[in-house]
């Protein structure tokens, strides 16, 4: 299907089914409400096939360009039907399973993620491991010879794992090589969160939500056929997330930011000070959208995305700050002193927007990558 036709049909369908899809509560709602709403919406969209376009047939999809699912995510975000932060976890995790899991496993579980039957989480960060991901230490030991072992035993801790308390599964990075083996000694597993030995302790975030958690692994036994990719090949699994995170997820986030700026524009005072703030935010969003569009066209044309997407990441993160800063400037008090639902929404989102320069690689790490890989300035040591 041509992308413009798809978009037109999708929008017509979403218009017609708005009542069915919309959240039955005022935004932002509690996290429980938001997660339940997302899953319900995914199941409606899966039934109607929209959630299946752009995903391969062998995992329950209908095939076609991944841009189709990008359009869906953006349409939902632009209509305020999905929180792109939660919704786009699909884009971060499903492609990993498709590319690295046994085909039967991918065929079994990916449809469950798409249809809203399951939530998955990403266990990468640890108390001692943030930006320097290759330093992680959560340990996986084979029961017997690593090449023939039928199970692996996991011990260690993850932290800031988004939605861990809701998740049925986790894409987990573990240390399987010597402690100092860095990125050469990491292996990825697909772990059921109800496996004995896993404890999840939600953490309250700066905006009051408990969206991420600590996850403890205490002698957790995982079948060897849950290994994703090769033994000690976990680094390429982790890196494979980049192209989708940096294309589809961003396009969804961008659609959401346009909608948020529009909400400001709908009520802002009609004066030159407001016009300046709005004009500047619009300029940045357009820059970001233009860049992201180029990136996605490159991906669709078969390019392998790499370090150059750090530019997209810097622009998205900056855009997030700019839009919510505009809200504080033009809707004074809404974030700071307003206990209505609207105040609650802008406050939670304003506070959350500050994470944009932290998760998915911090602002500084992106600039390091740009300097080293794109400007070819050599190492900084």
């Amino acid at each position: 299907m041509h992308i413009a036709d798809f978009r037109a049909k999708l929008n017509a369908w979403l218009d017609a089914h708005h009542a069915e899809l919309a959240a039955p509560f005022a935004p932002p709602g509690t996290l429980d409400q938001r997660v339940a709403q997302m899953q319900r919406m995914k199941s409606v969209l899966f039934e109607a096939d929209w959630m299946r376009y752009g995903w391969p047939e062998h995992v329950g999809g209908l095939g076609g360009s991944p841009m189709l699912r990008t359009e869906l995510g953006a349409a939902l975000a632009g209509r305020d039907l999905a929180d792109p932060g939660l919704f786009s976890l699909i884009e971060v995790l499903a492609p990993t399973l498709i590319d690295f899991a046994r085909p039967e496993l991918a065929a079994e579980v990916v449809p469950r993620l798409l249809s809203g039957a399951e939530i998955w989480c990403q266990g990468f960060s640890e108390p001692g491991t943030g930006s320097d991901l290759s330093s992680l230490s959560c340990r996986a030991e084979p029961d017997g010879d690593p090449d023939t072992a039928s199970t692996w035993r996991i011990n260690g801790q993850k932290v800031w794992t988004s939605l861990a308390q809701y998740a049925e599964r986790c894409v987990l990075l573990t240390r399987t090589g010597p402690a100092d083996s860095r990125h050469r000694g990491i292996t990825a597993f697909f772990v059921d969160m109800d496996t004995p030995g896993i404890t999840v302790a939600p953490i309250e975030m700066i905006n009051g939500m408990h969206e991420f958690a600590e996850v403890f692994f205490d002698d957790v036994v995982v079948p060897a056929d849950r290994m994703l990719g090769e033994l000690n090949g976990g680094w390429s699994v982790a890196m494979s997330i980049l192209p989708y995170e940096r294309s589809s997820c961003f396009w969804q986030r961008i659609a959401y930011l346009y909608r948020r700026l529009e909400m400001i524009v709908e009520v802002a005072p009609d004066d030159d000070r407001a016009a300046e703030v709005i004009g500047n935010a619009f300029l940045h969003l357009h820059m970001l959208r233009s860049r992201s569009r180029v990136t996605q066209h490159r991906l669709a044309d078969g390019a392998t995305l790499g370090a150059e997407t750090s530019i997209d990441k810097v622009l998205v993160a900056t855009g997030d700050h700019i839009v919510y800063d505009a809200a504080r400037r033009l809707l004074p008090g809404i974030v700071e002193m307003d206990d209505s639902d609207a105040g609650e929404m802008w406050r939670t989102e304003y506070l959350y927007s500050r994470a944009a320069t932290i998760y998915g690689g911090t602002a500084e790490v992106q600039r390091n990558i740009i300097a080293r890989r794109l400007l070819d300035l050599g190492t900084d040591a």
């Binding site: 346009y258 529009e262 524009v265 030159d272 709005i278 004009g279 066209h297 390091n368 300097a371 190492t379």
Partner: protein, 322 residues
Amino acid sequence: MDAAERSLLHETVRDALAGGRTGSGTAADAVLTELGWLEMLGAEPRDAIDIVFTTLGETNTVATALDDVVITALGIEPSADLTVVLPPFATSNFPGRITDGEVHIVGLTGARIGRVSRVVVACESDVGIQRVMVPAAAATAAAVRGVDPDGGFHLIDIHHDAVDAVPVEPAVWIDAVAAGRRAVAHQIAGACRTMLDLARTHATERVQFGRPIAKFQAVRHRLAEALVAVEALEATLIAAWDEPGPMTAALAKATAGRTARTVGAHCQQVLAGIGFTTDHPFHRYLKRTIALEGLFGSTETIVLDLGRELLAQRRVPTLIEL
């Protein structure tokens, strides 16, 4: 044109223009004529404008190709004997005003004013927008030294009979401004690329505290910031051609102004003392972008206009789709 043809043409134009940075633009104009600039502009305007203006920016060359772009957009056959008056600096106002059968023109031109016989001007009047052709001899044209004495800019003042005034649709002037903005944005993008190249090279060669300054994270992050800005600008130019219209052109031009400031500031800081001298080429690029930023509206006025438009509509248009 496919990608390979485009890059070949870009190389050809770059080689041909290398070293021609005089204020009159005659040398570069001759080179462009020889390369078939006007034919390219007619047949493949996007590639022609992208490649020629990017290269003018990259090589700090003065030519008068902007006249041809704007004149074409006004619906007139471009010619070496014809120049156009651009809006006064930092505005996109009409350069001309017709009252009582007289036209009064205040604006800018490029270097071509010194060698043409006719000048075309878009004017406002009580009966709408009109296009007037006046003899160049009627113009008081003062070459501006300003911040960029080599840029070929002239301040124009003309009082003349408004004979042969031709009514023009408002959309024609809007398109002409958009065409000018796209071209100037390409030129600024080219200049920004060169500023970044100069600073990058300097960072890898200049040694302080026993190592190249490119090893210092503060320096690296400034250059990274500059690259983000340049690449974003280039993306807005792609958008401005894929979805041509006044708004995408205005956004590209405002992004160009913003980018020039970001890139200029970071590169100047990295180049430090050497970049502060006129021995180093950096200053010419910086000054050219400062001058170009004011053509067809300053960054501030464009941003303000965009914001007012959004407020008037109470909408935020997404403009480009996948």
